[in-house]
């Protein structure tokens, strides 16, 4: 496992706190333009994911990249997570990974 450049699990609320850091999140794709995708995070925040997305995208997509601001990520890795992903579980994971169980995450 590559631990040289860890990416923190984030939802919309946590994104702004980690500007400049490498993050990972899952968004529900709302729309896409050239060079960016508009997505809704698991806590209902609308964010922009910049970078060239693969086509086609499923309803839920995991993106790993650098947090640019509280509503944008420059994505390096895109992974289709299918159409039946449970956003609540992921959202709770983000909270725990940055809260009570922070010590377990890099």
């Amino acid at each position: 496992m590559d631990t040289s450049s860890p990416s923190a699990f984030v939802n919309g609320a946590l994104l702004g706190r980690l500007a400049g850091r490498k993050v990972r999140t899952v968004v529900q794709v709302i729309g896409s333009e050239i060079g960016s995708v508009v997505g809704k995070t698991t806590d209902d925040v609308q964010i922009f994911v910049r970078g060239s997305s693969p086509a086609p995208l499923t309803t839920y997509v995991e993106v790993i990249g650098i947090a640019e601001s509280d509503n944008s990520i420059r994505a390096e890795t895109w992974t289709n997570f299918g159409n039946t992903f449970d956003p609540q579980n992921f959202n709770e994971l983000c909270k725990l990974a940055n809260g009570e169980f922070k010590h377990l995450f890099m």
Partner: protein, 550 residues
Amino acid sequence: MQIVYRLIVVLNMETIVPHSETIGNPTMSAESDTESGNFPPTNRVAFNEPAFQHSVNKAPPRGVNIQSPANSTPSFRPSVQPLYQPPPSYRNHGPIMKNEAPARIIPIAALNPYQGRWAIKARVTAKGDMRRYNNAKGDGKVFSFDLLDSDGGEIRITCFNAVVDRFYDVIEVGKVYLISKGSLKPAQKNFNHLKNEWEIFLESTSTVELCPDEDGSIPRQQFSFRPISDIENAENNTILDMIGVVTSVNPSVPILRKNGMETHRRILNLKDESGKAVEVTLWGEFCNRDGRQLEEMVESAFYPVLAIKAGKVSDFSGKSVGTISSSQLFIDPDFPEAQRLRNWFDHGGKNTASSSISRDTMPGGGSRNEIRKAVSQIKEEGLGRSDKPDWVTVKATISFIKTDSFCYTACPLMIGDKQCNKKVTRTGTNMWLCDRCNQESEECDYRYLLQVQIQDHTGLTWVTAFQESGEEIMGCPAKQLYTLKYELQNDEEFAEIVRIRLFHQYLLKLKIKEESYGDEQRVKMTVVKVDKVNYTSESKYLLDLLVRSL
């Protein structure tokens, strides 16, 4: 000479000085004096020297009967004996006289088993049904009721048998009574949730009088309402009072109780100002009477306030509150708490989201009474060893399937609306004979009897899967596999089918019961349900475990 006796009865004496000089100048009664002239003077204070008194007065030489006329030496008469011969003049004066005046009314809180005479004035807040029982001493009947007095003291009264007949019809909920005489016993906390360490058992000498002119100084009911947020942290089986707004009412459903009797259950949802909601389960009569009224109110979009006296906390799935036989429900009661709640609900509370401390279904998609265990826990906790089987769910992977025998030939005949399914044997005439039906059939059925090894992160074990769960595990009917293996003898394809069924993870519901085979005790585990792991609900389940452990 007329002798005047003065008797003082002293109770609860305690020795503070073991050996002491004689205090004062006690004299023996005249009769005693003349008869006990041989004793040294110290014998008169025998209470200070119990051992001495004992040796002199109560332990004559072996074989000597001090009462026998043949040995009536006066010096052996006990010095205190005259005190036990009360002259007739005792009866009508002196402090030992029976006090016939009515006992003083004392607060319930002051009752204790060490006082002889008491009376309490209290309102009946609840009256239990008359129950019949049968134990080692025979048949009997019992009923109890709860009292509340003007100081807020509460106590339960229990009557047995003949006492039931005397008081059962006398006692009415809401009425005030003057009650006297009865014995106090420690309260049975598992049945009695009142804030009193005693309960009263009425006896044949007890009196129960209705107070028709009561003045309302005794409240009708006493509550100590706990907010729903408190219930979240209450221990299982806690008895408490709560009040909330009913937001939904489920239909009443029949439930088969463990003793085989049918009862009804109805689930409501309540919320309150604490921002939490809770499931309330009504049982039995509460479903129909109060439950129906609540259902109609909620259906007409009126959300009633419901106060519950003595509900029981359950931690079955999350936390919920259920009724017990002594529970009482108050729909839209006229309490200040109810009015405050109504006001809160009507001014915004209705639309605020409340998080429920109960869960409709267990996260993980299982039923609400699912008990999750790891494979190693089955052995460690000795599951299946009690009288009744244990039903647990394990999340496990199938690691091996026994294939030398995986199905049996089953009787296809119908018994009533069910297929017989007993094992049939081939007869000489190429027919299948069933011992149970005592009939032959041309065809037989093939049903799974599958031995499977399952494994999780804690260990592995063997389980048995019958028809339905077997088919779920193998992915095809038993007959198909039987044909493949024994008729087509296509061992390769057979092996391939078995191989691809391995290493899938399932939620397996197991019935675990120890059975004896001859002298041997064996824990038998049967798969009763096979579900593929649903990762969404399984994640929820794990998440819930995590958060609860925080």
